[in-house]
Symmetry: C2
Subunit: 340 residues, 2 copies
DNA sequence: AGAATTATCCAAAGCGCTTTGGGGATCGAG
DNA sequence: CTCGATCCCCAAAGCGCTTTGGATAATTCT
């Protein structure tokens, strides 16, 4: 069933039917109701491709999804997506996800923009320098980053968590508790969120006249297996760290297991603070020793990004261009005074 | 840059340029190269909405994603998606995800079909009865289910894991080890995969003259928190179970924590077999006591579904309509002889 | 009552692409 | 030299929708 068939059946022109459906005023109340009813009965749904072609709008936001055999599913990603979806469903938006191999992302974005399928683009996993940001900046499609490239000034719209501040604060707490030997269990080094967290830690350490030995800084995907292995290595270090900062509760999961396995007591022999993205399936308060965390909901970030993107497309002008969210430090049992 | 501009610039007609670009034979080698080069230089990418409108093909597969404030991110979902993406990227396909509140899914699918944005539809989280399946069956768009509705005969294309068989086999193993008191930590009851797993367990129990007390069967979302709480309740049961089947490693995570907290030894005091979807961030072999599992890769299922869907659209006829994958029973340390 | 609005509706153009149905050269064959 | 093939290429229609620019009939104003 298309517009033509529907209008034929009603004995009206396509113009009128289209207007009735889209709430334009140039149509009488009576016909409008008749049209609406017929659309309902016949189950008419407009063809979005045609709509998009005619209006230039698609009610959809695009994102490219990295795909490679070695890249598995990421719970952080789906958590974020659920937030984005929450907002999208309210406004009848949808997403188009273009999978791309990591070395072809720029092209994937280009295709996405040119495709005419999307009104706006969302970008995550920011690196530095990031050619994707350059591309977006020079094209005319609305976009929004989750994260920032490095540096102080930013001439692009973003929503980011103050990762540096979060880890700075966390490290400060640990320093106050008397810790001197730190380790870092971080996400992939190329991502700026990881870099910033490292900087936050190093800054706090430097202020205390300390530093982070390279062999006690680990970078990897944020899964429990990586956390386990890295922590085992940390524990075998001649100067075993007593305080560790951890970029994700997923990493912490493995790390805690390694700590237990070594017969150490979390919060006593060794303190740990993890960043908590509030993954719905992995809550830090449920660990056998509840985890002290820096918290910032990924889902909320997704929802907010959806809100801003959709708002911008609708012409809202009261939306901030750039937002930096502070993470919340929540002290639980995994942190305690430094041993001896 | 659109086709018209490109062809003007080349002094050719849109027809010729289009044909050159799409590899039709009615164009000389020389012009073809000239066109290709110009397209390259100008960065011309065809407008997909227009292409879709003209051809009826979109190189995209659609899926609806349940969205509600109380639904968080699901690592199973993103694991599956990564498999789907792996296949999609090979063929330059993309997805469109339509978020929908749980009570509006049928409509969301209708819109998706009518939208003209997608060539095929993928459906997961099958329930019984499932109105979405009815809808798909009666519409003419290609589709594929991950899972099945209940019953023996199925007149729709699907890929499913033999959930009943998996839990039957798992229960058999436990029975052989002498266990008599079972518990079940399952996914949401409305999903058929959960129902089937329960049936598998009950069948094995019945064959041994045993049964599953209702209070020892727990249904919920598959996260660690739910696993922890349910297991705590199980352990408080007057007839504490010695064997538990668990629908996910995420649930097992919480369950194991409850077991440890109670001072029980996994694989000695209590045995546990979990279904392993091979979540990349949560491997059963890395648990402090490695988990015995029934394994079936969600990612592989995603890839296979992508393969079949894309293959079908390309006209391949050598693809099976229905596939049932056996899960692999992998014995590790979380299972042992029944105590006393 | 005649003019000026106002309320409804329609025909047709256009979004960017593919595809049908030719049409003019070029070339070897008769 | 002419005729049918063979190559290349083009004009125009059509995909399903929105939107511009009227047209017609019904109201209101003076």
């Amino acid at each position: 069933m298309n517009l033509k068939q529907l209008s034929d059946r009603l004995g009206l022109s396509q113009t009128t039917v289209s207007r009735a459906l889209n709430g334009y005023p140039e149509v009488s109340q009576a016909t409008r109701e008749r049209v609406l009813k017929a659309a309902q009965q016949t189950g008419y749904k407009p063809n979005k491709a045609a709509q998009r072609l005619a209006t230039g709008k698609a009610k959809s936001i695009g994102l490219v999804m990295q795909s490679a055999p070695e890249i598995g599913g990421d719970p952080h990603f789906s958590e974020f997506l659920s937030g984005l979806a929450e907002e999208a469903v309210k406004h009848d938006f949808h997403f188009v996800m273009a999978p791309a191999s990591p070395d072809d992302e720029v092209n994937a974005i280009k295709r996405l923009i040119a495709s005419g399928y999307v009104d706006a683009i969302f970008l995550a996993h920011v690196v530095d320098p990031d050619p994707r940001v350059e591309l977006l900046r020079s094209s005319s499609i609305p976009y929004l980053l989750h994260g920032r490239i490095m540096g102080e000034t930013h001439d692009y719209p973003y929503l980011d968590v103050d990762n540096e501040g979060a880890f700075y604060t966390a490290a400060k707490l640990l320093l106050q508790l008397g810790h001197k030997r730190f380790a870092l269990l971080n996400g992939m080094e190329r991502f700026t969120f990881a870099t910033r967290r490292k900087i936050g830690l190093e800054k706090a350490l430097a202020e205390a006249g300390l530093s982070l030995p390279p062999e006690l800084a680990h970078h990897s995907v944020m899964g429990d297996q990586a956390g386990f292995r890295a922590m085992e290595r940390f524990l075998a270090h001649p100067e075993r760290p007593t305080a560790v900062l951890c970029a994700s509760t997923a990493l912490a999961l493995g790390a805690v297991r390694a700590i237990n396995k070594a017969g150490l007591k979390l919060g006593v022999d060794i303190s740990l603070i993890a960043h908590d993205d509030v993954l719905s399936t992995l809550r830090p308060e449920n660990f056998s020793v509840p985890l002290t965390t820096t918290r910032s909901s990924l889902r909320a970030a997704g929802a907010r990004i959806g809100q801003r993107l959709i708002g911008t497309l609708a012409g809202a002008s009261d939306l901030p261009e750039q937002e930096l969210w502070e993470a919340e430090l929540i002290v639980r049992a995994s942190t305690g005074p430094a041993p001896f």
